[in-house]
């Protein structure tokens, strides 16, 4: 259903745009406007299929989509799907890495915080994480870029790997890529950390008051076992679903962060596409991101049902 809405939106946005592409095409620099003759315009309209009624255009658009044909980028001289495919891996890998890192660290910190609730450790950590989680990701990225990369020279300033590099072995190649990916992933992880921390803390706090926790303690189990085996297992449910639900906003954050670090992913591509006014490509990227996010949301729904038998 939502897929349908997005596709429809994607279809109508350029057609609702003020102005006519042929007026744009037929006017040149300065005041001298060379106009196409009526028959030329009619020919072009027929060529692009713009003379047909909306319904016909719409159905042909959908059939093209189903065939996997989302258009051809004039600027890059390649089909949109190929261009996105080349850039996709970069983005997907930093997004996944960031979610993994922030989820792991956030959950551990959140559980510890809940365990020592209202102690000094909890209070300090809580206010600290609240403070950083409000700062937008791209600002964190810029700060890292200036301090860690530019001043201290610990990390490369931009890019996804060294240009013109000759790698002696495969391991060098991997290290280089990881080295470049470190700051973007760190930035995105910090931006996401608060969400997972707060969620796991809340979830743990409510689990810790349950009767089976008292039983576990009465059995004389060690603290570590209680936290990670008994409590966390039950507190994991909302965290798992949040992983999938947060993908949408991580993608949004990745678009900005990639541009901070000039990381060669889809987000950087999107900005390039806007700068060179490659509308077909912009739409293709939007479609790609939207479809990915929606699929993840759908997955979240399914997984939640699997994990929690109480939800029918």
């Amino acid at each position: 259903m939502t897929f349908f809405v997005i596709i429809t939106l994607n279809f109508f946005i350029p057609r609702l745009m003020p102005g006519d592409p042929f007026i744009f095409l037929s006017s040149s620099e300065g005041q001298i406007t060379t106009t196409y003759s009526e028959e030329q315009i009619a020919k072009y309209k027929a060529y692009y299929g713009l003379d047909k009624p909306m319904v016909v255009q719409y159905t042909s658009y959908i059939t093209n989509l189903l065939k996997g044909n989302i258009g051809y980028s004039i600027y890059y001289n390649n089909s949109v799907i190929n261009i996105i495919g080349k850039r996709m891996l970069w983005t997907v890998s930093i997004v996944l890495a960031a979610i993994l890192v922030s989820c792991l660290i956030g959950t551990v910190l959140g559980s510890l915080s809940a365990w020592y609730r209202d102690g000094v450790f909890d209070k300090v950590l809580y206010s600290f994480i609240i403070a950083i989680s409000e700062i937008p990701a791209f600002i964190i990225g810029i700060v890292f870029l200036f301090i860690l990369a530019a001043k201290l020279g610990l990390f490369p300033l931009s890019g996804g790997m060294k240009t013109f590099a000759n790698y002696s072995c495969f391991a060098d190649h991997i290290t280089d890529i990881l080295h470049h990916a470190f700051l973007p992933v760190l930035t995105l992880s910090i931006a996401r950390l608060g969400e997972f921390y707060l969620l796991s803390r809340n979830s743990m706090v409510s689990v810790l008051t349950k009767d089976y926790m008292r039983t576990a303690r009465a059995k004389g189990l060690r603290n570590r076992r209680i936290i990670f085996r008994h409590a966390l297992k039950n507190a994991m449910l909302p965290i798992v679903t949040r992983i999938f639900l947060s993908l949408g906003s991580v993608f949004g954050g990745a678009i900005l962060v990639e541009n901070v670090f000039n990381y060669p992913g889809v987000g950087h591509l999107m900005r390039e596409a806007v700068m060179v006014r490659d509308y077909v490509l912009i739409q293709g990227i939007f479609l790609f991101v939207a479809v990915t996010v929606l699929t993840m949301n759908l997955l979240a729904d399914i997984i939640y049902r699997r994990l929690d038998p109480r939800v029918s």
Partner: protein, 281 residues
């Protein structure tokens, strides 16, 4: 007037963090409103040498074109405030109306409205904003409209569930039995109940909108004619050699500080408001 008094009372109940937050936001408001008087230099044309360090004449230094940065920050505050409050206001009012209507009518209308809300919530907002910005031209007005179109769902959902629960109260049933209509119920019974909740979500939306605008402007996709904080950052980052010179110390640091201050201040206020409302309930 009654509501203004309520707001004053709740500000008095803020703790230290909340009060600091209010103070910072008021300061930024002041900067934004009186930016013309507070900065002695124009914000769009050069007024000194390029890349001057902060000093007596140019408090925060100048950028590569010699434009005073303090003036740019002041006018940027205006943009941030307009976008933040404009979006929150539009989305808060629109969302509340939709929420009240949905909760009040129930049945099929409610179901359809909730389906639409679910759909809007999952749409990735930043890519959508970029697409709309690319096609319809980036202007502050368009940014506000697009942000509001993506934000109304939050207050709408909260308001709806509150209205649903208020509808079950005996005094509402009594009012209905006396023949109270939609408007009477809304004004007399729903609004006082939902107002604090709407307040919290509106505060949240404000900071979200400010961050979104700064992000878009940073990408260079914001309104190119408005000197917003994100746009200053965009210029600074795209300046060749910014990483290897000392210019970033004033050129990059000042907009970043401004954004972080405002956003954290709003976060403090929102946490405190939430705390007060929760303790009341």
């Amino acid at each position: 007037m009654k509501y203004v008094k309520h707001v004053m009372i709740s500000i008095k109940r803020f703790n230290a963090m909340g009060k600091i937050g209010v103070a910072v936001v008021l300061m930024v408001l002041f900067l934004g409103i009186f930016s013309g008087w507070l900065s002695f230099h124009p914000y769009s044309i050069p007024s000194g040498g390029s890349l001057e360090a902060p000093g007596a004449v140019h408090w925060l230094g100048t950028d590569d074109l010699g434009i005073d940065l303090w003036a740019q920050i002041c006018f940027g505050a205006r943009i941030s405030i307009i976008v933040g409050f404009g979006t929150a206001f539009l989305a808060g009012i629109g969302g509340s109306i939709i929420g009240i209507f949905s909760g009040y009518s129930g049945g099929l209308t409610d179901k359809i409205i909730m389906r639409i809300t679910d759909m809007v919530i999952v749409l990735p907002d930043l890519p959508m904003m970029i697409v709309l910005g690319a096609f319809f031209g980036p202007s502050v007005r368009n940014i506000i409209i697009v942000l509001a179109l993506f934000s109304w769902t939050v207050p709408a959902r909260i308001v709806r569930s509150k209205v649903l629960s208020v509808k079950q109260e005996n005094y509402v049933t009594a009012a209905i039995s006396y023949g109270a209509g939609f408007w009477h119920l809304t004004l007399r019974h729903f609004l006082p109940n939902i107002l604090p909740l709407v307040m919290v979500s509106v505060i949240r939306l404000t900071s979200r909108a400010i961050v979104a605008e700064a992000g878009l402007a940073f990408l260079g996709l914001g309104d190119p004619t408005s000197k917003s904080w994100g746009l200053i950052l965009n210029h600074a980052i795209n300046f060749r050699g910014i990483y290897f010179t000392d210019y970033w110390k004033w050129w990059v640091v000042s907009p970043i500080t401004a954004i972080m201050l405002l956003v954290t201040a709003i976060a403090f206020i929102s946490r405190d408001t939430e705390r007060i409302i929760n303790s009341k309930a």
